[in-house]
Amino acid sequence: MSFDVMIVGIGGQGTILTSNILGKACVIEGIPVRGAETHGMAQRGGSVESQIRIGQQYGPLIAPGTADLLLSFDLLEAARAVHWLKPDGKIYTSQEFVVPTSVFMQDYPSPEEPMLLEMLGSRPYKVVDCRRIAEEAGNVLTQNIVLLGAASPDIPLKKESLLEAIRRTVPQKTVDMNLKAFDMGIDAGKSE
């Protein structure tokens, strides 16, 4: 049995980078890992997902209703992806969401935060103000690392492995900022 993580968001928010960190941390620990990602046309501002299976030796795909953890960089995408989780699967999501262009083009009612939170259902969830924390850490682009930090106590990988994987993945001059974002994320994950 593997520990299966769904990472969802919008093209460009860093789902692939985040999954790379988890994958590299597995290699550091000598654990088999499989991942599946969205490439190509769907990246252009569409919904994207990365699946990561920690400890998996077979295929890269997670079956709907079986994931252990959901990381979402957009609250609306979290609501869209919640059915991937097993009944007691845990959710870490960014507080923000981008209203899809389809809402304005086709005059759909715009989704609101309380409605999206309600859609997360009965599973344990943690909403993280990723933007504010990332800005405090020094760069708004570290939001994905903030969320990863928040979720990290629930991921069966050592903190040192994740930190080393971050060092190996992010651009050299942003390493310190990202490590800070990760630690601030851990604190945010613990707070009520």
């Binding site: 490439h39 046309m41 252009r44 795909l61 209703g65 609501a79 919640v82 059915h83 899809p100 859609m119």
Partner: protein
Amino acid sequence: MVVHYLLGNEAIAHGCLEAAVDIACGYPGTPSSEVIDTLRMDPDRACKVEWSVNEKVAFEEALAASWCGLRTICTMKHVGLNVAADPLMTSAYTGTKGGFVILSADDPFAHSSQNEQDSRCYAQFARIPCFDPSTLQEAHDMVRDAFSISEEFSLPVMFRPTTRICHSKSDVDMGEVKVSDRTALFEKDPRQYVVIPAHTRILHQKLNQKQPAIKKKLVELGYNRYEVKGKTAVICSGVGASYVREVIGSDVSLAVIGAYPIDEGWLAGFIQKHEKVLVVEELSPIIEEIARQVSGFVLIYGKKTGQVPYEGELSPERVAKYLTAAGIQTSVRYEEPQKPAALPVRSPVLCAGCMHRAAMYAMKKVFRDGIFPSDIGCYTLGIQLGTVDTTICMGASITIASGMSLAGEKRDIVCTIGDSTFLHTGIQGLINAVYNGANITVVILDNRITAMTGHQPNPTTGLTACGILTPPVSIEAICRAAGATFVETVSPSNLTTFMNVLKEAKSKTGVKVIIARQPCVISEKRSKINRGKYIVHQDVCIGCKACIKFGCPAIELRGGLAFITDLCSGCGVCSELCPVGAISREVKE
């Protein structure tokens, strides 16, 4: 040996380097593109790497290099293989000298493709070996071995990964990169390389004679293997094999097909040890048909008996379902979760500031009653703007337009094609349209890059795959040489001028070419070009939604008024659309 977390295509590229590949050519196509991208970005690469103008060109160049004794690979997506099918079929006759691998990446579920065709059919059709990896490690090992198999049998070898191999990731154990010591030398032999009828009849016979030894070799190598465990069995292939392994019960036998052609005697030996066999494979029933030929009295389940669909991709929960449907037990059960309530879709959209949006917006305004054949590229997303009426394959915008003109369609026909697609197979259609007197408008959306597949340079870019400066091709000169008399180049970001050129084209007959030229906004960002951003003056905005209807992802409606977000790249088109002048460039204090 060293373990890395790699993308499938990176693992494949590394396998090529371990085989000391000399030449890699390809045409970009999802999910194949990152093989060449990985090789061309490698600063230590010893091989030559090229983006070719289309798959037929890539194939023929790689074939020629193989004839010169070098190890070569050409890469493409499955539909690209249709373009290269002509040399493919005959290269099996001529054979090869240096190892020659044809990578054709299939896309079950059409994640990013116009169809779900199965490249294994082509390998079977051409009678060449085909490798079908089930994991990333296997993809890495197989592509490395494919070069030596090609050399052993003097045949091109197909390597067929699917999306979930190319675009999945895993820990991969890699070997050492080797540097080639081969030098190109073409040894003339007309009986092999000139396929006049007298030669080709003999070559065809030789190709057929090679088949039994290939089948045996693929079993010997362990790429086709089985384990007998009980009275029921599953035969599977490709990435589907990894899903089967995840769910299969411990008392069910398993055969994995990793390479074709399949040794029928070997497969019969496996099948006949069982009472009931399910064949699970993505797309065409290649294995299933052979299994049925050798099954005797054993029951075969699969696509032809309705348990496994012909379309779409496999997954662990689907495989579990098919095993249950065929009465072969699974060890894992899945409950179908309740899908969430409908949320507004977040479809892929053209980027903020993308010139395709402005060009297509203008087309729709000027040619209100027009018909809009289009092509393969980012601009296919123009379907959301109502300016993509047809898309079938690369280069088929101009030809569909001229065909409608030939048919006598009276409305204005305005087709769109990208720079890379025009050079791929659009030029022939333009020559034909001019030659045969079509009455069409051709809009060439020239953003100087092959954008959708991940920004590969092409002959309009002025750079080769490896970043060497090269003279950019003149699309204008090509169009004029084809005989088009109306050829205008204009940036669609200059909306008013662009619309005036469209109106002029509308007033004329014949083949009118408009080259809509503006660099891709992503290329601009990477080149650190910053045009600032635009803002809506909230006190002037009347909430008419004229800018909203443009569909730019940077423009939102907030409290009934328009608002421009940080996604804005400063193209300024929305300021030309606003009827009350509420939008202007942001001036920083």
